[in-house]
Structures are given as structure tokens and as C-alpha cells.
């Protein structure tokens, strides 16, 4: 049954809210940003919460942790843990900087993403990211995720007690 409520959601009408970016790059906007430009964005907008070099404090560390995931103290950052570079762009665009979400231009988000990927040793110092290059970045932990395997505990109530 169709109730006939609501109004048509034309692409133009919803454009400002349609901000998600998929791993294949769908949703990435025009524009681009370099590591160098990102360094400036990061210093101005991000360093206060994530540390001068992304080391964290007060908010999450964004750099480091490679090789720690299988240890007793995994350090999970963009570099060590995130499977898709597109997610970095998506998250910064929707949620950062924390005190002014959705305030950065597309160029600034590309740039901040490039800088953070560079700090993590994933893209070179001269990298420039855009809608074509960003989805092609292969993240170290790309294959680090597995499906839910639960139930994984097989308890049976004590038969004596029943």
C-alpha cells in the first residue's frame, strides 16, 4: 500500500544532505587537496585535539599503530586499522572539526585526508587526492575485517542441575 505522503526528493533538493562516500568513491565531490595543503588545514583545524603530528590527546590518535593489531595492546588508527581511505574523507567531511562539523570545503577535506594518510606512511609527500585517486589508495588493514562469527560460545546448562 502507498499512502501518498511526503514530497518528492529530487537530487537538487537533497544535495546538501547527500554527503556519504562509498569505498568505490561514489559520492566524492569535485575538488582536490595535497599533503602540503593538508598540513596547513590540520595545523589550523585539527592539531589542537589530535596532536601536532596526529599522536592524539585529548581526542583519538590518528597516526601510528602499524603492526600492533595482533598484540596485547592494539593501537587502532587510520593508518593501522581503517580499511578504506574513502572513510577518512567521509568522516572528516561529516563530523570534523568537532566544533564545526560540515564547515570544511571539499578541497580542505581532500587535503586533510592526504596529510593524515601521509603521516601514516600511506601516500607520498607530493600526493594530491581527488575523486579519482582517493578510492585507489590501498589501506594497510584493507583485509583486516571478518564477518560476525557468533554464536561462538557453546554453553549448555549443567544437566545435573535441571
Amino acid at each position: 500500500q502507498v499512502y501518498g505522503l511526503g514530497k518528492p526528493g529530487s537530487p537538487a533538493a537533497i544535495a546538501a544532505w547527500n554527503i556519504d562516500v562509498a569505498p568505490d568513491g561514489t559520492g566524492l565531490p569535485p575538488g582536490s587537496g595535497s599533503v602540503a595543503a593538508g598540513q596547513a588545514v590540520y595545523a589550523a583545524q585539527c592539531a589542537a585535539c589530535h596532536g601536532a603530528k596526529g599522536e592524539g590527546k585529548p581526542a583519538d590518535a590518528l597516526v601510528g599503530g602499524l603492526g600492533t593489531l595482533a598484540t596485547g595492546k592494539p593501537v587502532k588508527t587510520i593508518g593501522s586499522f581503517w580499511p578504506y581511505a574513502t572513510t577518512v574523507f567521509d568522516f572528516i567531511r561529516r563530523a570534523m572539526p568537532y566544533q564545526a562539523p560540515q564547515s570544511l570545503s571539499a578541497d580542505e577535506v581532500y587535503a586533510a585526508t592526504a596529510y593524515l594518510l601521509h603521516l601514516n606512511g600511506i601516500v607520498p609527500a607530493d600526493a594530491v587526492l581527488d575523486a579519482t585517486s582517493l578510492p585507489q589508495v590501498r589501506m594497510p588493514n584493507r583485509d583486516g575485517f571478518v564477518a560476525d562469527a557468533r554464536p561462538d560460545t557453546a554453553s549448555r546448562p549443567c544437566l545435573q542441575c535441571r
Partner: protein, 400 residues
């Protein structure tokens, strides 16, 4: 082993020494406060300790959680003012007249719905629990909490009213290629999760009312997604957008954040279901027994897989078990209150509860969980909880 809990009727000696003669108290000798003292009622001043609390202090208190005081609650309904919070960018204050829900992507008729539109669709009301996947996570590495509010308080149960998501999917017409739904909030985090479309068709709700009244700001006013039995973070609050797609959108919340790390460095992803869990809420670490005698053990059991089938309790740390009474109605993916009689002989005791759900799943021990998942999972810790009673009546959190 058959347990002797409460089987022997050994009443405490009734307090001797008569009560001093009762006097007519001041509050009987004068008229009280007028009707509409509070047009919207408040708890009594003597209950001011029954509030939500945080775990430590957050540097940015908008990206934090607060917990429900289970040690003070009765029955299965959580009063809305005490329902736990989890925000990623604080509580937005939304004008419901301006709020919209966009439904688009792989659909035939993308729509923009106002709240006036949404409340026009056929509604349903359901009593369901809501639990954060991080609930009890502090206990993975040993008994950590000195209050059940801290250990288990990311848990509540309410009556939710709203529109079935399936009703809205029919309204927009779903493209057969659609397999996932991105849900996105209007908060400063634009909090977003990908949901398998099967859940959207099955029982997902677009909720606008909670325990009879409109949602509160901290719970998603004026609209939230509600996914019965699934981890709370996926029930996106302040819902502004649903986008249908062929694949999961791989947001930060389902990659960086709400995944469960294993000892080999891999992480489980899309671990939505809240498995069966139970906990004794009285007597718990927050309480102290006043002398030997009768106590009713009371607690909560729940499962994201359906209904609770039985709860067993132990007072000897799991050496023997005994079936608890389940308070009806036992509802699908709702808290179920259980109760069991106990005569405390004044000696040391370890109180435990263990739920079995209708799928046959039995609540595991912490050891079983750690054997499977190691110590880095953070989320989905649903182990049997032990409360250790000392001879002086004090109670400690313990892992036995």
C-alpha cells in the same frame, strides 16, 4: 546438584523490641502541595540519588555516555529520564517543524518526509530493550566496576512507537539491487551506520515516541531508527536520511569504531546482535544486606534473538543452580525481570544468574568469551556476572 536456595523456610527472627509508639507526622497534620504542583511531574526529593551517571569525565562531554541506575530500578520499564545516553557530538536541539527525513538511493520514488507526514502513517508500539554494544565492556579484563550502574547501565527498556521502516520502503518502492540502508543522523557527528535491508524489512522502526510521549532530545527527538535486539549505536538518533545501496557504506562507525578485535589482529565487523545476557540487580554491588534471613534475588534477563526462556540463579558461585521465576509478560527482545527466593544464612555467598533464550543459547562465562575472542574485543561482553557477599553483608564485584 540440587540447590537449597530458599527451600528451607528459615524466617529471620522478627525484630523484637516493639516499635516506639507511632506519632501523627507533620505531613498528616497539614494539607500538602496543590494539584499541578508540577504540571510535568518529578521524582521525590528523597530519590535525588537516582540519576544517570557517567564513567569518569570525558574531555569532550558531547562524545560520551551516561548510564542507567539499574541498582534503583524495578520491573522492566526504564523511566525515560533515566534511559542511558550515548552521543558522538552532543545532543542537537532540533526544531521538529523543520526536521525532515530523506529516503533515497536505490528507490523508485525518493521522498522527503516531514514529521507531520511521518505521524500520518500506520504506527506500531513495541516494548524492547536498548543496549549499547559497549555495555559491561569494562569487565573484559577483570572485575572493574563498583556499581552495577557502571558495569551494566548502558541498558534500558521502553515502549517505542513509530512507523515500520517496511511501510516507508513500500512508499518509496525499493530497487531489487538494494541490499543495505545507510542511516544518518542530523547531529554534529552526522552519525551513520549501514543496515542490511533484511532487517529494514523485518522489524526496523522509525520511532518518534518513547514510553508514551515524544522522544527526548538525548534519545533522538524528533525521530530515530530503532533496530530491535541490535546494538544501540545502529539505532541512529535524530534520523535525517536513509539511503539504499547495493553494498555497505563502510562508515567510520562500522570500520574504526564498532568492530570487535580478535587476538590474531582481525576484527569482526557488523556484529549487530546483542546476545543473551542477565544480571542480578538486587542484591548487587551497590547494596548491603541487613542481617541474615529472607531476600528476594531480582534481576534482568534479555536477548537480541527473541524471548528469554529461562533464568537460573546460583548463590554458591555456580556450583549449583536453581530456576528463577520469570515475571510476565515475557516479551520479544524486551527486558524480562526474574526473581528467586533466598535465605541468607549469614555466610559468604557468590550470586550469579544465567539466562537461556528461546534459540537455546546459554549465557557464557567470561572465560568462554575470552577463549573465543581474547581481551581486545571491547564490545559484546555478555558474561555471567558474579556478586560476592561477605559475612558483614557487604557485596563486591567478583570474577570467579
Amino acid at each position: 546438584a540440587s540447590a537449597a536456595l530458599g527451600a528451607a523456610a528459615l524466617p529471620a527472627a522478627r525484630a523484637t523490641g516493639a516499635e516506639p509508639a507511632l506519632e501523627v507526622p507533620a505531613w498528616t497534620r497539614t494539607p500538602g502541595e496543590p494539584v499541578l504542583w508540577h504540571a510535568y511531574g518529578q521524582p521525590d526529593a528523597h530519590e535525588a540519588h537516582v540519576v544517570r551517571r557517567t564513567r569518569g569525565t570525558a574531555v569532550l562531554p558531547g562524545a560520551a555516555s551516561s548510564l542507567t541506575p539499574l541498582q534503583n530500578l524495578h520491573g522492566i520499564i526504564t523511566p525515560t529520564g533515566l534511559v542511558f545516553e550515548r552521543h558522538h557530538a552532543g545532543i542537537p536541539q532540533i526544531d521538529p517543524a523543520q526536521h525532515r527525513l530523506v529516503v533515497h538511493g536505490l528507490v523508485q520514488r525518493p521522498l522527503i518526509l516531514s514529521m507531520d507526514d511521518l505521524v500520518r502513517f500506520p504506527a506500531v508500539s513495541r516494548i524492547h530493550f536498548l543496549e549499547c554494544s559497549g555495555n559491561t565492556g569494562v569487565e573484559w579484563r577483570g572485575a572493574a566496576s563498583t556499581s552495577i550502574q557502571q558495569s551494566h547501565g548502558l541498558l534500558s527498556c521502553c515502549e517505542w512507537t513509530g512507523v515500520r521502516l517496511s511501510t516507508i520502503l513500500q512508499e518509496v518502492g525499493v530497487d531489487p539491487a538494494a541490499a543495505w540502508v545507510l542511516a544518518e543522523g542530523a547531529d554534529g557527528a552526522a552519525m551513520s551506520r549501514s543496515i542490511p535491508i533484511a532487517k529494514a524489512w523485518e522489524d526496523a522502526l522509525l520511532v518518534y515516541a518513547q514510553n508514551g510521549e515524544m522522544l527526548r532530545p538525548e534519545h533522538g527527538y524528533p525521530l530515530r531508527l530503532f533496530l530491535p535486539g541490535w546494538e544501540g549505536n545502529a539505532s541512529i538518533k535524530w534520523l535525517r536520511r536513509l539511503k539504499l545501496g547495493a553494498a555497505p557504506f563502510m562508515t567510520r562507525e562500522e570500520t574504526s569504531k564498532y568492530t570487535d578485535s580478535l587476538p590474531d589482529g582481525k576484527a569482526r565487523q557488523f556484529t549487530f546482535t546483542m546476545e543473551a545476557k542477565s544480571v542480578i540487580t538486587y542484591p548487587a554491588v551497590d547494596h548491603r544486606l541487613r542481617g541474615r534471613g529472607y531476600y528476594e534475588i531480582s534481576g534482568l534477563a534479555w536477548t537480541g534473538q527473541g524471548r528469554v526462556k529461562r533464568v537460573d540463579v546460583s548463590t554458591d558461585g555456580g556450583a549449583s543452580w536453581r530456576e528463577a521465576r520469570l515475571e510476565g509478560p515475557v516479551l520479544d527482545r524486551a527486558l524480562t525481570r526474574f526473581r528467586a527466593d533466598w535465605q541468607w544464612d549469614g555466610g559468604p555467598a557468590v550470586l550469579q544468574s544465567r539466562v537461556t533464550d528461546e534459540t537455546g543459547y546459554v549465557q557464557p562465562t567470561g572465560r568462554q568469551l575470552i577463549a573465543q575472542r581474547g581481551l581486545n574485543s571491547l564490545y559484546h561482553y555478555n558474561a555471567i556476572q558474579s556478586w560476592k557477599v561477605a559475612t558483614d553483608g557487604s557485596i563486591a564485584n567478583a570474577q570467579v
